[in-house]
Symmetry: C2
Subunit: 345 residues, 2 copies
DNA sequence: TATATTTGTTTAATCGATTAAGCAAAGATA
DNA sequence: TATCTTTGCTTAATCGATTAAACAAATATA
């Protein structure tokens, strides 16, 4: 039953006995086409349910109106929210997006880049996988001359636009908050040092600790993949120390969750015995007990800004790929896992 | 610095002073091209970093090798896992996927369908938005003659391939489990009746309740959007009843979470006073306290099967869009929220 | 030797939309 | 009336890859 063959400009042209050029222009409301013809064309187009062939027009125009998005994973609220807001802005500007996930794998990320370039996207907005250290594939995007915008997980060396929060300052906020709570031995389970954002958090942690004259003990600073499981492992390590910390700041919410589970299993009073702070403000931080203090990264804003940055690039193609950083302020959401005062009242 | 203009077949042809046709065939290992020419072509292609223009080849071949995927949202573990496994299977078969999210909105879903058709995808794999009742847009996909496969949220009337779990039987498993726990007044916060899967869960609930000779009280059966917030609201309604239920089965984990929060706020003993069961086995069900009993839907398997079903369609185009249902068995994951026995020991 | 087959390649059409250039007819200007 | 503009459309080239058809040269077959 299905009308297999799609309607093309030619079909419309044949019916009206005019050229395909006229039809094309009529549909684009070209000023050189009479309104009579335009109406006729539009009517027939509607009747035949004409849908332009995107491949043909993209090929001809050298522009696909597609933007590729690479995220480490979609099942995190942060990335999902970034993407959603990005999409909203881009849709309004006539762009559609293609989402791909790297699953934190370097290989998968390279494949994603290939797929997107292959699909002839007009630009790529990406957040890098944890594993990624080799930037060749990103250089490939740059060398193709299409806009590349990074967010959250970026990389200075690439020298491209970047949107993210101030990780260094966020660490300061967290340490300051914990100090206010009376904590004196603050541990940090950080991400990979090689990743820019995690490195900034580590630097922020160290500087803030020193600033407050607290001990900067190397056994209190651990490097982690920040998965839930690794959060468990690293927390167990901290509990095994001769002198346990009285606060733990963890650079990711999932790892913080694993850590919290270990604390509960060990019947440790959170926050009074050990206070806990995560990072990312994933919804579950508010759901577990005790709810976990965390950092809100303004995902919606990051998504919108990334999209706008892309649009700026395409609207003025002369702008070179330049290091144009947009750094947002983060927000500390204090919850019971670090709020000793709430328990004193 | 960037080498703006991409290498085309023509560039290679010019260098080797052969026709583009020869180049094209050489790259495809056509048997009629001498191995000498093939080698030369491949060498030059590599040197010039040739990347075929997908738009051109898709236009010519009438096949984009792209599969569109529509999910209500990506930030649920279920959908994210489905998509990931789907992608794996499709990638191996030379297909790439384009993910779009409907955010449970009918309008957004229609836009997604338009985007995907516009991008000339070779097929669409979708799970319908909660809001969707009008099937016109899905009929549009069918009428275009491209394969459509639904999973999880499907619709009988569309008469297309469907992959999902046995919702009716799942409800039976849940009710049976609660009866075993000694529950006698089991409530159900279900999804929208109009949605096939939720309707099946409701039917399963009713039938199982009757089978065990329990009261099928209308005030114990509520219809919900199954958001976390609505879970709270509906649980409050149940608590306000003259005779409270001693078990609540909720057709979605997010709503179950909201309900659990209300129960905890009201200092109700879960599971002894009221037992709780969710649906979907989202990771947080294991994380909260008490952990929530839930149904595992085998997302990985669903993803793989959906992909395979698509591949079957394209490999034998004569197969009409037919009602080919693949129903998987679900699995009940019993956790503390409904496990009274664990507390007796 | 004459004919058939295989091999290796080129020519040219094609996918569908876009657009520069061309051109005829109508209208405006002098 | 003669010339210039504007209007409204057509022609034809183009984007880049693919492929049917054609063809020459080499090889096989009779």
């Amino acid at each position: 039953m299905s009308n297999k063959k799609k309607t093309t400009l030619k079909d419309i042209a044949n019916i009206l006995e005019i050229s395909t050029a006229a039809v094309s222009k009529a549909l684009q409301d070209d000023s050189r086409i009479s309104s009579k013809t335009k109406e006729a064309v539009k009517k027939v187009a509607k009747d035949l349910n004409y849908q332009p062939n995107h491949l043909a027009s993209a090929l001809r125009k050298g522009k696909s109106n597609l933007v590729g998005v690479i995220v480490p994973r979609t099942n995190s609220n942060f990335f999902s929210s970034v993407v959603q807001n990005m999409e909203e802005v881009l849709n309004k500007a006539g762009y559609n997006i293609i989402i791909t996930q790297s699953n934190e794998s370097y290989k998968k990320e390279c494949d994603s880049i290939d797929t997107l370039l292959f699909t002839q996207v007009d630009g790529i907005i990406a957040s890098m996988a944890n594993e990624t250290t080799d930037l060749d594939y990103y250089e490939k995007i740059k060398s193709r001359g299409i806009p590349l915008i990074l967010f959250d997980r970026g990389e200075n060396d690439l020298n491209v636009d970047y949107i993210g929060i101030d990780d260094y300052a966020s660490s300061h906020m967290i340490v300051e908050h914990l100090v206010e709570q009376g904590c004196k031995r603050i541990a940090h389970i950080g991400g990979y040092q090689r990743t820019r954002i995690f490195n900034n958090r580590i630097r922020g942690y160290k500087d803030a600790i020193e600033k407050h004259g607290l001990p900067l003990d190397s056994e209190l600073l651990l490097e982690s993949s920040l998965t839930q499981e690794d959060g468990r492992i690293k927390m167990e390590q901290l509990l095994a120390l001769k002198t346990r910390p009285d606060a733990v700041y963890i650079a990711g919410d999932y790892a913080a969750l694993g850590a919290l589970q270990v604390l509960k299993e060990n019947a440790i009073d959170v926050p009074n015995e050990i206070a806990l702070v995560g990072f990312g403000n994933e919804p579950f931080t508010a759901m577990v007990s005790p709810p976990i203090t965390s950092i809100e990264q303004h995902s919606a804003e990051i998504g919108r800004l990334a999209a706008q940055t892309f649009l700026e690039h395409v609207s003025s193609p002369d702008i070179k790929q330049s290091l144009n950083k947009k750094i947002l302020d983060a927000e500390l959401i204090v919850r019971d896992s670090s709020n000793k005062k709430a328990f004193l009242n």
